[in-house]
Symmetry: C2
Subunit: 136 residues, 2 copies
Amino acid sequence: MSAHSHTHSDLTKNQSLVMDALSSSEGPLSAYTILDQLRDNGMRAPLQVYRALDKLVEYGLVHRLESLNAFVACRHPNCDSNKTIIFMICEACDKVNEITDAALAKNINKIAASEKFALNKSTVELRGLCPACQTD
Amino acid sequence: MSAHSHTHSDLTKNQSLVMDALSSSEGPLSAYTILDQLRDNGMRAPLQVYRALDKLVEYGLVHRLESLNAFVACRHPNCDSNKTIIFMICEACDKVNEITDAALAKNINKIAASEKFALNKSTVELRGLCPACQTD
DNA sequence: CGCAATCTTGTAATGAGATAACATCACCTA
DNA sequence: TAGGTGATGTTATCTCATTACAAGATTGCG
Ligand SMILES: [Zn+2]
Ligand SMILES: [Zn+2]
Ligand SMILES: [Zn+2]
Ligand SMILES: [Zn+2]
């Protein structure tokens, strides 16, 4: 099975639990927050959560936010995690908006090429205020 | 004093020690690695290092690499940490190349504006192989 | 000078994020 | 049924970062 064809029904028990926790959250969750939420479902140790997260990230269903040490469910239809994803993280309400932008992806590839850098993964995380939190 | 006019001579003892450690390193260092290197210079506890790092980052002399939980001395002449900085991190030799790109900065600002996102800070970290490590 | 305000430093303890090591279990297949 | 593979469970440990409190050092008045 390809890394991008996973549906929810393919997931193992722990993966499903973690996926559900992230999907039903408004914002990103840390591994330990997920663990706390799933204590009653048999989740006992951090490693159980991290293992599930590793797989979910590998399948492209979940993204890791490097600047937050947290994880978020992908809400981007047909998301290709190999492409350059832009995360806009609200510092007030913690909600995350995930978008792609062809021009920016192209720009980053061009920059890497011009520096002869063999690009493997791009992290673009923007911090600021989402529209709803700009009360002005 | 403005946040961007700090010279090395303005720094306190601990700030200078940490700055020197980062400046003489080929790649990024974690706070605890810096601590270990400075044990003989009176540095005893993590907080001493983190306090110095906080100031150095504030002054724009040091950048934090979110995807590594590590810090690197700025080697960009006239670096304005308010601008969009692109870090290219080699996954083989751990060296970091720091560049700016006007087109990319403009692109990011445009994306944020189009989403009505009040941009505060941009994190752009590219992982891959530097030219020297592409032996192919 | 004397004193207060402020900044920097020192130290211990704790919180938060992530992984190593090892044992066990479920499932598929030869 | 024996063996391989992947998922799980459990403990301990490691790395990264902050809280809380105390003690010096510095500056700027009155
Ligand atoms: Zn996505
Ligand atoms: Zn918001
Ligand atoms: Zn810089
Ligand atoms: Zn390299």
